[in-house]
């Protein structure tokens, strides 16, 4: 690989990391702060991606829309639609016990994937949606770096929103719910509403990340939203980094993504006729590395940070 190749690989890597970072932040609101186990991350990710794709691609008879709207409109749409979906799903599931919520959400995410696969008039089924525009610069050597800058800005905004939410009294109520739901009710908080808010804000961020992904990759199909890429890896990022800690979420994203991509570089070095073994070996390696991290750093690299005590005038 030449220098130019390495550089563009880095841009590719970093852009993807940004997308995952936004998902990890969204998940941190749900799991790290509220204790909701959402294993349906991929579902919201997919819905965001498809929404933005349908809104921004050129008109076509093959699937719904092709409304050729600007990318920014697509992304806003992604946030709104995934948020609305979260309201819907949240209303029926937020009161489930956390482990049941886990299984319910992964089930719902899979249903979403089935719908995307089979409702061809809307999503073009397994054929996917191609020709999704990139923000600002469509192609050529500048497209990658420009996207990266956009993505970094998005991460910064998402980080600000989530971190502020965490240290605010809103975040405190969420942590209380995580600890003891009945007592939170007894303290006059509308638990259902807070949970729903957390679920929706987190899911909307995932939807936003999905939109970014669509515009980054240019093509989406149901495969991109399989549990491994859409959900598992995000969880791994959050847990490795340290759940409940937003810096941890970012750090975890970079670490896990480094490993994931690192193993890819490794497999690219292998001869091509070993491709079958190589891709399996890669997944194996990721699994093993994850176990090692979990075993050696239970709390994640950065443990949950308590909001700083309030500084007061006298004491």
């Amino acid at each position: 690989m030449e220098l130019a190749g390495l550089l563009s690989y880095f841009v590719f890597f970093a852009s993807f990391a940004c997308i995952y970072a936004i998902m990890a932040l969204g998940l941190n609101i749900q799991w790290g702060m509220t204790g909701q186990i959402n294993i349906g991350v991929a579902g919201f990710y997919a819905v965001g991606a498809y929404t933005s794709a349908i809104l921004t691609t050129p008109p076509t008879p093959e699937h719904l829309g092709g409304f050729a709207l600007p990318v920014i409109v697509g992304l806003i749409g992604a946030v709104i639609v995934s948020g609305l979906l979260a309201v819907l799903i949240g209303m029926i599931t937020v009161n489930l016990r956390s482990d049941y919520l886990a299984i319910a959400t992964i089930g719902l995410a899979e249903i979403i994937r089935f719908l995307i696969k089979n409702e061809e008039q809307v999503t073009h089924g397994v054929r996917g949606i191609a020709e999704i525009p990139r923000p600002l610069v469509e192609s050529g050597p500048l497209a990658g770096p420009v996207f990266l800058v956009v993505a970094l800005i998005c991460v910064a905004i998402a980080y600000f929103l989530v971190e502020r939410a965490r240290v605010s009294p809103w975040g405190r109520v969420l942590r209380a719910i995580r600890d003891n739901e009945d007592a939170t009710k007894a303290a006059g908080k509308n638990v259902v509403s807070f949970r729903l808010q957390a679920f929706v804000v987190g899911s909307a961020l995932m939807g936003f990340a999905g939109g970014l992904y669509a515009h980054f990759f240019g093509f989406i199909s149901p495969e991109a939203f399989q549990p491994v890429f859409g959900t598992f890896i995000v969880w791994a990022m959050l847990i490795v980094g340290g759940s409940g800690n937003n810096k941890g979420a970012l750090l975890g994203t970079v670490l896990v993504w480094l490993v994931w991509s690192g193993t890819e570089i490794f497999t690219r070095l292998l001869p091509a006729d070993m491709a079958t073994q190589a891709s399996a070996a890669r997944v194996l390696m990721i699994g093993v590395l994850l176990q090692i991290v979990l075993l050696t750093r239970r709390q994640g690299v950065l443990p949950e940070e308590r909001p700083k005590p309030i500084p007061r005038g006298d004491s």
Binding site: N180, A186, G188
Partner: protein, 254 residues
């Protein structure tokens, strides 16, 4: 203040509360005693909106609150504690208290995002108040400790502290004395009395410690098998043969 009218609640075939009617007068400290399993905690659950009664109704200041959600009741000034302490174990003791006040600006996400200054100012006020309460309960040295690390009795105190963080009208205390060191209990008793006198809180408390009941409560209501067995001053209750039979036992010095 609180009127319970013919409330019943059955779990399966078991009538935990059965056609129970009672009143908690404004400004009183009403004691609720009765054998284990008499339905006291269940009745608290019903009053505080955690359990839906099968029949009957609950009035708060003349207003029907049957089936109203706990968090709404909280805003109507009705607060409960739990028999088994319900602390927020992974939050600090101070945070446990700071959580409680209602209408915190920062509980709205949008306000937190856009008007941080106002949120912060209010935080400082609430923190000050929490520290006052902690001083009062002699828990100040544990303010930054995780609540999960408190001992059983300290958790009880914290529960009471949460009730002190608001302008409650009625506080339902489920066995505030159980497992609390007797010397500390004397303080709790004092606290309850002061809150009652100085701030006009109305209390209704379940307790098995007759000394505490005798010292604090008037009137005392004794429940058995889901319904009211007797009501009166502690002396009257002690003199009641049925109560002695069902609850106090004959060894209890009269």
């Amino acid at each position: 203040m609180i009127v319970v009218e013919n409330v019943s609640k059955a779990f399966g075939g078991l009538k935990a509360v059965h056609d129970c009617s009672l009143e908690v007068a404004d400004g009183s400290i009403t004691g609720l005693i009765g054998p284990n399993g008499a339905g006291k905690s269940t009745l608290f659950g019903i009053i505080a909106g955690f359990i839906r009664p099968d029949s009957g109704r609950i009035l708060l200041d003349g207003r029907d609150i049957t089936g109203v959600k706990p968090h709404r009741l909280f805003h109507l000034g009705l607060i409960r504690t739990f028999q088994i302490p319900h602390e927020f174990s992974r939050m600090t003791v101070r945070e446990n208290l700071m959580l409680v006040p209602a209408a915190q600006k920062g509980e709205s996400l949008v306000t937190s995002w856009l008007r941080w200054g106002a949120v912060w100012q209010q935080e400082v006020e609430i923190a000050d108040k929490a520290d006052e309460v902690l001083d009062f309960l002699q828990l100040a040295h544990l303010a930054d400790e995780l609540a999960g690390r408190l001992s059983g009795g300290q958790k009880k105190l914290l529960d009471i502290g949460r009730a002190m963080m608001t302008d409650a009208k009625v506080v339902l205390l489920d066995e505030p004395g159980a497992g609390v060191n007797r010397t500390l209990l004397a303080q709790i008793v004092e606290t309850i009395r002061r809150l009652n006198r100085e701030r006009g809180y109305t209390f209704c408390l379940i307790e098995h410690d007759m000394d505490m009941i005798a010292e604090l409560c008037d009137p005392v209501i004794c429940m058995a098998q889901g319904t009211v067995l007797a009501k009166g001053t502690m002396e009257e209750i002690r003199a009641n043969e049925a109560v002695r039979e069902a609850y106090l036992g004959h060894t209890e010095p009269a």
